[in-house]
């Protein structure tokens, strides 16, 4: 059975809605700015792409504040299978327990969040998928497998992660943050900017979508997962792991690579990630493709990144244009001819979106318009 995408929505630091993010990306805007949620003076950077209006001193977690407006009153049938992608979920529960002796830190277990999301949308079956910063793309691949194998015919992939002192301090300790804001594929890039986001993609078998008269917005035609088997925090330098994931996605899709029109890169803005990606792309594709990263605009939204980027990739398919890579000023030699700080047009009907995370986890998805 073919998995098709019938609905999606998201919230990023640009605000609620796909169009808002898409338009801001096209016009080269960034949502990265000085962060006021907690004290950042001791950290490597003081900036992040935070969603305005989220309340930190309430019982409702940041990710639930993001998800509720997206998922309430959606048409999602009870027999849908929920796949939740996240890295830290409701981590502020643990923060409060340890900082203020308030509540039980064990309630930060993402399974509690999974139950809340289940209750919110009224489905019965669900799992959390976690694969570091490749969580959402892995979840999409997992959903694709469930549908193509006939085990499920409707899967809702929900992804979310928030900016927390927990995560911010961690990336700062790894010296992974760019003081001035992420500059993916720039020769002077110095690290990532943290962001937060939530979103969902509803997938159905083509048969069920037809039966329910749901429009197919895109088809998930391929997915590939791999591991570098090399290092916990750094990617393998030659991009071999990511290339494997891309090749696996192409094999599953049973397409010729020449049909792929553009690449939504992971593009964190770290020295090693961006270099690794370019090596992977060049090892897989004979000719350059319009390639971009949205993380200089939305920040690195961790467990939500792959989902947000898949949605943006679908938008790019509609208009056959990729957005400029925000933050990019001087293109790194390795990325020349591929990545640009201007929009780039393409004329194919398939796009690739990739992620790479800690532990060497790689995930690639292919979407067809």
């Amino acid at each position: 059975m073919r998995p098709v995408i019938v609905d999606y929505d998201m919230v990023t630091a640009f605000g609620r809605g796909v169009n808002l993010c898409w338009e801001n990306l096209l016009s080269g805007q960034t949502a990265i700015k000085r962060l006021s949620r907690f004290n950042t003076q001791n950290f490597q950077s003081q900036s992040a792409a935070a969603i305005e209006g989220l309340k930190v001193d309430t019982d409702e977690s940041l990710v639930m504040q993001m998800l509720k407006p997206l998922l309430e009153n959606r048409v999602i049938t009870q027999d849908s299978f929920l796949v939740l992608a996240t890295t830290t979920g409701e981590i502020e529960i643990l923060e409060r327990a340890l900082l203020n002796n308030q509540g039980d830190y064990k309630k930060s277990n993402p399974n509690y969040l999974l139950d809340k999301v289940k209750d919110l949308i009224g489905v019965k079956s669900a799992v959390t998928i976690s694969a570091a910063c490749s969580s959402a793309n892995t979840a999409l691949g997992f959903a694709g497998s469930l549908i193509s194998s006939g085990r499920q015919d409707c899967v809702l992939v929900v992804a979310c992660d928030s900016i927390s002192e927990f995560v911010f301090s961690g990336f700062s300790s790894l010296m992974a943050l760019d003081k001035t804001g992420a500059r993916p594929f720039d020769e002077n890039r110095a690290g990532l900017s943290i962001g937060e986001a939530a979103g969902f993609i509803l997938l159905m078998s083509a048969e069920r979508a037809k039966k329910e008269k749901r429009n197919s917005l895109s088809e998930l035609i391929g997915w590939g997962l791999s591991n570098d088997a090399n290092h916990m925090t750094g990617p393998i330098r030659d991009g071999g792991g990511l290339a494997l994931a891309i090749e696996a996605a192409v094999m599953r899709a049973e397409i010729q690579k020449e049909r792929i029109g553009s690449i939504c890169a992971h593009g964190t803005g770290t020295l090693y990630n961006d270099s690794m990606e370019m090596k992977a792309f060049k090892s897989v594709f004979e000719n350059s493709l319009p390639t971009y990263s949205i993380k200089g605009a939305t920040g690195h939204t961790m467990g939500a990144a792959g989902l947000i980027e898949a949605i943006i990739a679908i938008e790019s398919l509609k208009e056959k244009v990729v957005p400029p890579t925000v933050g990019l000023r001087d293109v790194d030699d390795e990325a020349k001819g591929w990545v640009s700080n201007k929009t780039q047009k393409f004329d194919k009907d398939i796009v690739l979106s990739v992620n790479a995370g800690f532990g060497g986890i790689n995930a690639a998805v292919l979407l067809q318009g």
Binding site: N39, N42, T87, T88, I91, L94, E95, L98, L99, Y105, K106, S108, N109, P110, N111, L114, D115, A126, V127, T128, I129, S130, A131, A132, T138, F142, S145, L146, S148, S149, R151, E165, F166, S169, G170, S172, S173, L174, L225, S226, N227, D228, A229, N230, H231, M232, T233, G241, L244, A248, V250, M251, R252, E254, I255, Q256, F358, G359, G360, I361
Partner: protein, 205 residues
């Protein structure tokens, strides 16, 4: 056009080997190994001496407890399945895992350390274990497993559910083997699922 060798629902999948560790004992199913140990570092030394680990695990002493246990478990399971591994040769083997707590205890250890130290700096070596996939990734790095790697959980997830998902991944790929791991602090188990029909084993449907 590339031909996909995957999507083969008819692939026969067997359990090629399995291992378990609880708080005092460990064992395997095919080779019927059974042993006891005092603590996880002792177990590692013992498994090295018995050549279950074919070469030392880099930085083992720095791993968190679950990562140490996961590496011991995978060493036992691969040995039970007669799958050899080498330092410089990666294998297309996947590893998926579950447990009841995710990374909650590692998260607590990391953030507590950060708070105790005045919220000014934190320890990167603790931060890297704040992902539920970190123990699986440590195993993948040592045993050179370059197939899919992810963590899956829910309050009502069963090991059989995880086995079903692993079978689905095997059937939809060109991999020959995938490891299915449950790595709780108190007890852990690892099954090696294989599509190799010639290998003697127990059919898991």
């Amino acid at each position: 056009m590339p031909r996909c060798c995957c999507k083969d629902k008819a692939k026969s999948i067997i359990v090629k080997g399995a291992a378990w560790i609880n708080q005092a004992n460990y064992g395997t199913t095919e080779k019927k190994i059974l042993g006891s140990y005092n603590n996880i570092d002792d177990l590692y030394v013992k498994l090295k001496q018995e050549k279950v680990f074919l070469f030392p695990v880099k930085n083992f002493a720095r791993f968190d407890f679950v990562s140490k246990m996961t590496c011991c478990l995978v060493a036992l399971a691969l040995g039970d399945a007669n799958i050899a591994y080498q330092k410089d040769c990666k294998q297309n083997i996947g590893i998926i895992g579950t447990n009841s707590q995710g990374a909650v205890e590692a998260n607590r250890e990391y953030f507590k350390d950060y708070v105790v130290n005045g919220r000014k700096s934190s320890r990167a070596n603790l931060f890297i274990y704040t992902l539920a996939t970190s123990p699986l990734a440590e195993a993948a790095i040592h045993f050179k497993l370059h197939g899919p790697l992810f963590y899956e959980s829910s309050f009502d997830i069963s090991f059989s559910r995880l086995l079903q998902d692993a079978k689905g991944i095997l059937r939809g790929s060109d991999m020959q083997n995938i490891l299915v791991v449950e790595n709780d602090q108190e007890k852990s188990a690892c099954f090696v699922l294989s599509v190799d029909e010639s290998v003697k084993g127990v059919s898991c449907g």
